[in-house]
Subunit: 334 residues, 2 copies
Amino acid sequence: MSGVQQIVLASRPHGTPDASHFRVEEVTLPALVEDEVRVKGWYYSVDPYMRGRMSDAKSYVPPYQIGAPINGGVIGKVIESRSEALQAGDVVLGTLPWATEAVVPAKALRKLDVEGVPAHYYLGVLGMPGLTAYVGLMDIGQPKAGETVVVSGASGAVGLVVGQIAKIQGCRVVGIAGSDEKVRLLKDYGFDEGINYKTTPDLNAALKAACPEGVDVYFDNVGGDISDAVLQQINTFGRVPLCGQIALYNADAVPMGPRLQPLLLKRSVLMQGFIVSNYQHRFPEAMQHLTGWVKEGRIQFTETIVAGFEQLPTAFLGLFSGKNQGKMIVEANV
Amino acid sequence: MSGVQQIVLASRPHGTPDASHFRVEEVTLPALVEDEVRVKGWYYSVDPYMRGRMSDAKSYVPPYQIGAPINGGVIGKVIESRSEALQAGDVVLGTLPWATEAVVPAKALRKLDVEGVPAHYYLGVLGMPGLTAYVGLMDIGQPKAGETVVVSGASGAVGLVVGQIAKIQGCRVVGIAGSDEKVRLLKDYGFDEGINYKTTPDLNAALKAACPEGVDVYFDNVGGDISDAVLQQINTFGRVPLCGQIALYNADAVPMGPRLQPLLLKRSVLMQGFIVSNYQHRFPEAMQHLTGWVKEGRIQFTETIVAGFEQLPTAFLGLFSGKNQGKMIVEANV
């Protein structure tokens, strides 16, 4: 089984990463031992958090090693098995290397039920982004009917689900995104208002107009100037789930901005950083709701699917220039 | 009853206030009507939050009006009563004007039980500062035995109580204050470590040494550079009750600093602004514990008592240059 390709971290980026930080290698995988399976990669998730792992700063996930494969959420098909738990043809999800094939213990994989649900949804609305949206909004944001929820990065994988869950909770929902096309997508998905931050002449004024009763929940996917503007409109007892700060991930120096604490203090605001993997106790409820809402058509989901394993670095880099609508996925031939 | 003096807001400060923003006036009070009492001021509370009320910015308490008396927490003695609820000689607490006497409805006052407790404690450890320390630490900070709690403004009215409650909870407690004398006070009151931020050559290094296992709870009374340094040491799942930002209250422009959200996100930190008056449902439990701890000698309390009604502006202004140890109070002759 020669000819397996993998993509490794060639060097650590300072500032914005580019193609030179990745390298494609050909490797030969070992034969299976007891309880292992061979998986052919099908759908590969590319996510903003991976930027953090390319640096060696201490974070909540260990850094990638130079010369070792990038890894992340991957859906694959079992093509050979020495485990009783899985058989050839099974569709599985796991944290796997960016490689065309991988040999792993069966217990590291979760078999997916793909009856009536496209497999790649398990990287999106029924996967990490959907669960992130659910626990961040419901557990930290705690939206109440009639409140106003603002979400930045609204047309991304997490943002789209946040907005639709907030609508289901009876909220007014305002999304911020980076193109007119993305704003149209928000409207299609039931957001009350969409703001294109790149073309709005005055983001503060646009937010005021879109949120006449202020902002009760700000689901923050981006950070930076956009978040500064939204926080100006935060109401007393507002809640701010911090989910992502993509505007700052490529910053090399510590980014500076207006000090937040006086505002949070005056308005009794809660701000909470969170990592979805710390909310596993909430996943059963979240999956039950998300699956139900998807099947009922109450949550729609957009994906940007890029064809070709070798496109993984390009697709990942595209996240930082807003190339995706909804979840960005790379599909390999299986 | 002529000759009543009151202190009014002469003009609104921009930046640091000074004596020129206050003016002493003589007024004549009206005769009592049914259900009113005449109160002679005894102990007057001066508090950092009053700075906010001198400006006309929107906040959680309404601004003082130019030409009208400053008001705040005052303990007084009833000297004349047309109410059945109170009689001459009663010691009462209320939000009263900075005046040597006041005529108010009896129902605006709370009669104090001063058996075995100095009356002025009701402006400190058994008053707003003590309650603030209790709900901020216990409800937001949620300290667990063995955790490390850092408190800034540690020798102030709130900070001293925070540190002692944290010790009662079994925590390691590190206080930050602005003089060697204040740091000695912290040690006297059972803090494990005290740091004089004005003389420490490297605050980051001092904090690292004082908090070898990082910081689980940071009770923030000051904001600014000191808080930046503490937050560098915050642990995953850390909690940051935002109680005060005295370092920034006199800032005229929006203060800038390092953006916090990436740090809060990476470490799953909760930051929560709070105002004690929103926790009234917690006061009975808090008062029961605080009173018990004071009577058992488990909580000690320091006050800086300045003599003379006319010293009110000077005492208030002294808060911003660290003139107080513990609660700052002005005592008038009664």
